[in-house]
Amino acid sequence: MKITREEVRRVALLARLQLTPEEEELLTGQLDAILSYMETLDRPDTEKVEPLAHAVDLVNAFREDRVVHEPQAEELLANAPAKENSFFKVPKIIE
């Protein structure tokens, strides 16, 4: 087994997904199969290989420190599931 149901539950919490017990079971099996397939990656020798994060070799893209602002608060808030004045309204945050 590459992944247990317990781990599936832990990962689902990290990803904020409320899985049903059926989904948990199905995903445990599917992820296990996929992760087993990933084992092929143990074959090539990567000892001295640098990881590749970007497909094209580029460095340094900058913008100048200039304020470019199109006032559009209303438009930006228009999609909010809930709002109050110009705040987003969200379920109470408990610290």
Partner: protein, 485 residues
Amino acid sequence: MSHYALTLHELAAKLSRREISSVEVTESVFGRIAATDERLHSYLALCRESALQEARQADERLKSGGDCPPLTGVPVALKDIFITRNVPTTCASKILGNFVPPYDGTAVRKIKESGAVILGKTNMDEFAMGSSTENSAFVVTRNPWDTERVPGGSSGGSASAVAADQCIAALGTDTGGSIRQPAACCGIVGLKPTYGRVSRYGVIAFASSLDQVGPMTKDVTDCALMLEAVAGKDPCDSTSVDVPVPAYASQLHGGVKGLRLGMPKEYFIPGIQAEVEKSVKDAIRLLEKNGVEVVEVSLPHSEYAVAVYYIIATAEASSNLARYDGMKYGYRAPAKDLTETYMRTRQEGFGPEVKRRIMLGTYALSAGYYDAYYLKAQKVRTLIKRDFEAAFRKCDVIITPTTPTTAFKIGEKTQDPLQMYLSDIFTISVNLAGLPGLSLPCGFDGNGLPIGMQIIGKHFDEATILRVAYAYEQATEWHKRKPKL
């Protein structure tokens, strides 16, 4: 011939000669959509009113003479992954079911500035995760050549719309084959440009280091014209590259004499549908007759591509999709507290494939697994990129089948995610290496389903790919066949 059946370059010529108007052709395309989309479901949303408005403006412009941008009055379709201001953009997900963006993405802005008329938004796999368009939260798109079959994916709606003349041309996106694979399945031309060639700003992100915007068109000339319209450095996308954009369409006619064409031995292996292999090999022979030199090349790490891809793409996706949390926009599930709101919103808002990939990606990045999965995958990605660098020292373009089989049946692979993932086996490496790749029709199988051939080029050498594709297209008739609807 009906207006809707015109290619982009044919239409542009007629428009500029004022033989037809943009309003006429736009009406004609909407008529075609009305007649066929109940069967195909290519579109998620149509912008009939604004499109006709844009068409009228285009006609004004054409009437006034003077210089008109190259796509003036041409009706195009956009995959619903493109952010369009004031036009609902769902990414075929319930979580964005009611989302109306407050801005236009760069590719959309550019295509509008080129004069195009926006017809509507096409169906896709939810968040571009899929190879069949069956993962749309809303509707399954059908292949115009056989409505029992998938159009490919994830840009299946755009592919189907182009093949069925429901638009003149379309834009799609490609993360692991999402332009090329549906293009092959639907018998059209689809190009994934070099990573960095077209801005990703305003394209809903799936896997940021792999995503790329590209044209889906009726022929190679149209593909060149569409690429010209959207390519170029964008100050809003740090990963877009400042390399001059050639006038692709005017460079198509150079011929292929003297070009070296690489055939990777790892791509012609058992398991490929025999008709697919034969068609691609026939195509290579045809090109050889036209003067290319065929060389065998090796891409030894190809077998790892699917594994590397499904780690990197899902890891990036797990982070890119964290913003869909029910706080600022999109769907919010009713729940008793904050954590439950997050969990239920995402549970109800995302479909099964998206959740599967978020889970896989989250796992691959999580403490204790990062090195074994994500870092390892990034290293093997380096090896895959090096394979291509070595191959391109021996050749100018590489030709492979686009897909191992022609379009499969709806429902055929939905139960086995891994089998579905393997249908991208020939396209994925190209994204991992950041290279440009184009699919064009090179035959039909015994069921009358189109077969696609993939031409892969060097970084930023889309021009050579297009030249080879054009030479092949000129020597064949495949692109002229139309599905019976």
